[in-house]
Each structure stands twice: as structure tokens, then as C-alpha cells.
């Protein structure tokens, strides 16, 4: 039987993953027009990558899996070349390299992240309710 603490742990990892995605989205939105970075060049969009982390096998042979952040990678798409001669970071031809960030796409990601966080919170609530229902048996 999968214990409730395992389910709590899995849902908790899902909530954590949501927070990591939220941080990446916030960073991408805030730096949508950033042309300078420590590494040089324009800001590169962050993409968090997740992987499973198997839990120990339960009494019934089933096995749950938590989600963990594998790494936060950089979007490999090249930066946008925009003609903006007045910008201090413009090259000799008047072109500035801007990050290729679509704020609309980030907004959609934000909505899906918010919904997935909500879903994981619902899993926690349902698990708690089921445990309390079990305690009500025979009352």
C-alpha cells in the first residue's frame, strides 16, 4: 500500500517543481530586454528540465516517483538582431542583440505553472481528506 506520507512527498515535489518553473518564468520576463550579462552578450532564456526520482517500492509492489529539477538550461535559440542604432550596445551596423523571449509565451507558461501548482495542492488536500475519511470509519 502506498502510504499517505509518500503521496504527500510526491505532491510536495510537484509543488517545488512549480516554484522552480515560476522562478524561471519570472527571470525570463524580467530579462526580456536584457542586453548585458556576466557571460557577455544578451540574456539567454532559462528552461528548467525535470526528471523523476523513484521512491522505494511499496508493500504492493508499486513504486511512486518524485519530480526533481535536473538542471536549468539555456534556450539554444539565437538572440534577435534588432536594428536600434541609438542603443549603447548597438554594433557598428546599428544592430542590437536582444533575447528571443516572447512575453506571450511566458504568460501562457505562467498560467500552466499556476494551474499545475493548484493541481498538486489539490492532490495534497485530497490525500488529507481521504486519510481523515478513513479515520471516520466506524464513528
Amino acid at each position: 500500500m502506498a502510504g499517505i506520507s509518500e503521496v504527500f512527498s510526491i505532491a510536495s515535489s510537484g509543488l517545488g517543481a512549480g516554484r522552480t518553473r515560476l522562478q524561471s518564468i519570472a527571470t525570463n520576463m524580467a530579462n526580456a530586454r536584457t542586453t548585458r550579462t556576466e557571460a557577455g552578450g544578451p540574456y539567454q532564456r532559462q528552461v528548467p528540465v525535470f526528471e523523476t526520482e523513484d521512491l522505494a517500492e511499496g508493500d504492493d509492489g508499486t513504486r511512486g516517483a518524485r519530480v526533481v529539477v535536473s538542471e536549468v538550461m539555456e534556450d539554444p535559440r539565437p538572440p534577435l538582431r534588432v536594428h536600434d542604432p541609438g542603443h549603447p550596445d548597438a554594433d557598428a551596423d546599428g544592430y542590437v542583440l536582444y533575447p528571443d523571449i516572447n512575453v506571450l509565451q511566458e504568460m501562457v507558461d505562467l498560467m500552466t505553472t499556476s494551474r499545475s501548482y493548484e493541481a498538486n495542492a489539490n492532490v495534497v488536500e485530497a490525500t488529507r481528506d481521504m486519510a481523515l475519511q478513513a479515520l471516520q470509519i466506524g464513528r
Binding site: 506520507s5 504527500f8 505532491a11 510536495s12 495542492a121 495534497v124 481523515l132 479515520l135 466506524g138
Partner: protein
């Protein structure tokens, strides 16, 4: 369960508090079981409390982890209370038995 209450009762009837343990053979006595349950519930409560204090003090930012720990502690407490209710109910059934 009745066995265990019986052993707890006979221990108590003997007037020795330490006699409560192990009267009914290998099975842990009611007092022992209760003590273990209380310890375990207390551990969970302390864990949740510790996380809440850490969150308030800014030592960590695991908001949902803290809430889940508190919720787990709450369920453990209710489970213990349910078990206790069942045991007391069984005890009272026997206590009121006409012989």
C-alpha cells in the same frame, strides 16, 4: 485489542505500575503502545513546529513543505485520538458487562 486492555487492566489491578508491561505475553501492552504512539505523534508535531518557526525566522522558504508537515502531524494526531477512542470504547463495553 481486548487482550491488550485485559493485560493493562490486570497489571493495574495488581497495583504495580511497572507490572502493566508484558502481562499478556509477547504483545506490547496498551500502555506501551500508547506511549509509542504519543512519542511518534509528538515527533511529527515537533517537526512541523520546527519548520514553521524556521519559515517565520527566514531560515528557509519551503512554504508548502511546512504546510504538508503540519498536515501530516495533524493526521497522525487524529489517528492516535481515533485509536484511543476505540480502545476506551472497548474498555467501557467490558466495564459495563453484566456478570
Amino acid at each position: 485489542m481486548i487482550d491488550r486492555i485485559g493485560s493493562a487492566l490486570s497489571g493495574a489491578a495488581g497495583g504495580t505500575v511497572s507490572g502493566v508491561s508484558g502481562v499478556g505475553g509477547d504483545a506490547p501492552s496498551f500502555a506501551e503502545s500508547l506511549e509509542k504512539a504519543v512519542e511518534s505523534v509528538n515527533r511529527e508535531q515537533n517537526e512541523g513546529d520546527g519548520m514553521l518557526v524556521g519559515l517565520a525566522a527566514g531560515e528557509h522558504t519551503d512554504l508548502h513543505g511546512t504546510m504538508i508537515a503540519l498536515e501530516e502531524a495533524n493526521i497522525a494526531l487524529r489517528a492516535m485520538a481515533s485509536a484511543r477512542d476505540k480502545v476506551v470504547e472497548a474498555y467501557q463495553t467490558i466495564w459495563n458487562m453484566q456478570v
